[in-house]
């Protein structure tokens, strides 16, 4: 029985995540979830982590099916699965909301980005965003634009969609020391306001200067 439920050793071929235990993958997922919930724009998709976690859930569920009902251990496992499923759902739901909001802009970025820049959208999210933009575009055309004078019929959705506010203020905790982060370059011409981010410290500042630090894990949003 113990062996039956032991799924903490994960192996996933040639992936970044291959040396991690299931617990470590879960921790990464929780981190990504928090960051995504608190950041103003869409972050890089952690598809692989999601994939691994859902496989873990699937495997554990299969094991539970085979085990005895009413067992204390089983009900505790169930609770853990519900917890993890919540994190995955909430993470993907939050991403979906942002994708729906910013889809035209996100698709435009995908078009213009260089090949070595990572895509922010998973292939499935990309497909969803494309369909959504197509549907909105269609609706605009058929309900209004095609009845307008000819020179007004064109629109570029990405130009009229509201943009993520990168100047949004966020709370963060520091994991890796970072020196001289410029926090307030735009409103003060004379002295740029710089801060050192020390490990363990918590700060309140605009998102834009630390966007990359969140992406690479040097800081996390809290």
């Amino acid at each position: 029985m113990d062996d039956l439920l032991n799924v903490s050793g994960v192996s996933n071929d040639d992936s970044d995540e291959e040396h991690l235990t299931a617990a470590q993958v879960l921790e990464k997922l929780e981190q990504a979830w928090m960051n995504e919930r608190l950041s103003p724009n869409l972050m890089e998709c952690k598809s692989q982590i999601v994939e691994i976690m859902l496989e873990q859930i699937e495997e554990m569920e299969a094991n539970i099916q085979r085990a005895q009902k009413g067992d204390l251990k089983i009900s505790l496992h169930r609770l853990e699965l519900d917890r993890i499923r919540y994190v995955v759902s909430s993470y993907l739901r939050c991403r979906l909301e942002k994708i729906e909001k910013f889809a035209p802009i996100l698709l435009e970025r995908e078009k213009s980005k260089s090949d070595d820049e990572p895509s922010k959208l998973s292939p499935e999210e990309f497909a969803f965003a494309k369909e959504l933009v197509g549907n909105v575009d269609n609706h605009f055309k058929s309900s209004a634009l095609k009845h307008m004078p000819r020179n007004l019929q064109n629109i570029a959705l990405h130009e009229i969609t509201s943009r993520p506010n990168l100047d949004h203020y966020v709370f963060l905790r520091v994991h890796q020391r970072e020196e001289g982060v410029i926090v307030d370059p735009e409103t003060d011409d004379h002295a740029e306001d710089r801060v050192d981010l020390e490990v363990g410290a918590q700060h309140l500042m605009r998102y834009q200067p630390i966007e990359q630090l969140v992406e690479n894990g040097a800081v996390s949003l809290i």
């Binding site: 999601v50 994939e51 859902l54 496989e55 859930i57 699937e58 009900s75 169930r78 609770l79 519900d82 917890r83 499923r85 919540y86 995955v88 759902s89 909430s90 993907l92 739901r93 979906l96 729906e100 499935e124 999210e125 497909a127 969803f128 369909e131 959504l132 549907n135 909105v136 269609n138 609706h139 605009f140 058929s142 309900s143 209004a144 009845h147 307008m148 004078p149 020179n151 007004l152 629109i155 009229i160």
Partner: protein, 195 residues
């Protein structure tokens, strides 16, 4: 001033900020499009004149005013359509894939079409997640227990649970059910979580 009709549409949206969807205002939409046509034709005439007599400042100004009015009308119309779509989108998440008839009645034919397209995109996205798909309209709050106690708010007859067992949902009856089995019924206001 030009654009007043368009502003009426926006005011209409503003009044229903609570998420409700008023009837699609076909009439005013048509009137705005007519105003746009008139503005456009008047501008065509003035443009033709300016081409012949290029120093006519008063025509140029008139063209500018009409041009701005056309853009304003366009913006209001698109914002009207877009904000309605976003409400309809929210309803997919709150009511599910079948909307109550009185809400549906307030949608234009094209909005109904948009809703069903959105539905289809969303379902196919959710099916594509993980090995078996993941219903993102579920698990909306962090779980505390696998089983929860619920009270039935209205008669709903018999329903079947995932494990094949059947329960009778009778008004005021109490049930102890897996959370995953009753989340949707709670969202729809058929069950109420007690503890």
């Amino acid at each position: 001033m030009f654009g007043e009709k368009a502003l009426d549409l926006i005011r209409e949206l503003h009044r229903s900020r609570d998420g409700t969807l008023g009837p699609y205002n076909e009439d005013v939409v048509r009137q705005i499009l007519e105003e746009m046509q008139i503005l456009y034709e008047a501008n065509q005439e003035d443009v033709a004149q300016v081409v012949q007599n290029d120093s006519d400042q008063s025509s140029l100004t008139a063209i500018q005013v009409r041009h701005d009015s056309l853009q304003r009308n366009k913006r209001c119309l698109l914002a009207y359509l877009y904000n309605r779509l976003m409400k309809i989108r929210d309803m997919r998440w709150e009511f599910g894939s079948v909307l109550p008839p009185d809400i549906r009645r307030n949608m234009s034919e094209r909005e109904v079409q948009w809703f069903s397209n959105y539905n289809r995109s969303l379902s196919s996205y959710m099916r594509s997640i993980g090995p078996r798909g993941l219903d993102l309209t579920q698990d909306l709050k962090p779980p505390q227990n696998v089983f929860i106690e619920v009270r039935c708010v209205e008669d709903r007859g018999e329903i079947e649970l995932d494990d094949g067992s059947r329960i009778l949902l009778k008004k005021n009856s109490m049930h102890f059910l897996p959370r995953s089995q009753c989340e949707r019924l709670i969202r729809q206001g058929i069950l109420k979580q007690v503890a």
